[in-house]
Symmetry: C2
Subunit: 147 residues, 2 copies
């Protein structure tokens, strides 16, 4: 009887794990569709002082990483620079919604970045974007994690 | 004995599933690090004719979706337009490596896009980018799938 109990328990746990995997994935898509509807997409176009490029990149890297790790509403901050002109920085920023962005502006790590880079940034343009295909967005970025 | 056998079998299956989950994730990060090393990142800056904007967006959407779905080396093609100036299109393009990009240029869906939009595209600039933080890249984009 004891072994039968354990056997049943194992089957229940296995069934539970499989149910969680299958239904968890379905719920995930539902949430994605919901989240993407109100999301805020932006390309930040930043030009920095040549002499302080390395310092700037180090501060930016730290800030972007902390934002994505600590703030659930910061979906993505993806920093890049132009190969032919490395002082031209571009960030792809995606926030869950306007409120998530407002809350991001109040964080310590953002304030630290802002104050530390104030004299390094020569120009800053925040270009509001609209994603063309919200439906396949999860599929588009999913490959980054499965490659 | 029969029940004990089933119980052991269940435990083995459970252990196998957990090992796969834990080690699967580790292997995934290793592959990511490898892939990101040679990857090609680009922002395409495209201006299109106002009168054909809808037609252009529909063709682009189809091409971007097909590229990501059919080509393993196309990590991401993320199309956006500027909210204040919708004829200004921007694409974040990430290819596994140069070869993946060259192969993308030979696909039927890319050729179809190119021919169909030739008279709609007013200007095209392909800006080669360097990702600033390859190490945390998987984490950055992962949230898009878990939100």
């Amino acid at each position: 009887m004891k072994h039968l109990g354990l056997h049943k328990l194992c089957l229940i746990v296995l069934y539970g794990m499989m149910t969680t995997i299958v239904f968890g994935q379905e719920n995930e898509s539902d949430n994605q569709a919901h989240t993407f509807e109100n999301m805020m997409v932006r390309i930040a176009e930043i030009e920095v002082e040549q002499d302080y490029l390395e310092e700037y990149i180090s501060i930016l890297k730290e800030e972007a990483e902390a934002s994505v790790r600590l703030e659930s509403g910061v979906i993505c901050i993806y920093p890049m620079f132009q190969k032919e002109n490395p002082t031209q920085i571009r960030l792809l920023e995606i926030y869950a919604d306007k409120a998530a962005y407002e809350s991001h502006l109040q964080t310590l790590h953002f304030k630290h970045y802002k104050v530390s880079t104030l004299s390094i940034v020569k120009s800053l343009q925040l270009v509001e974007m609209e994603a063309i295909d919200k439906k396949t967005m999860a599929k588009i970025f999913k490959k980054i994690n499965t490659q």
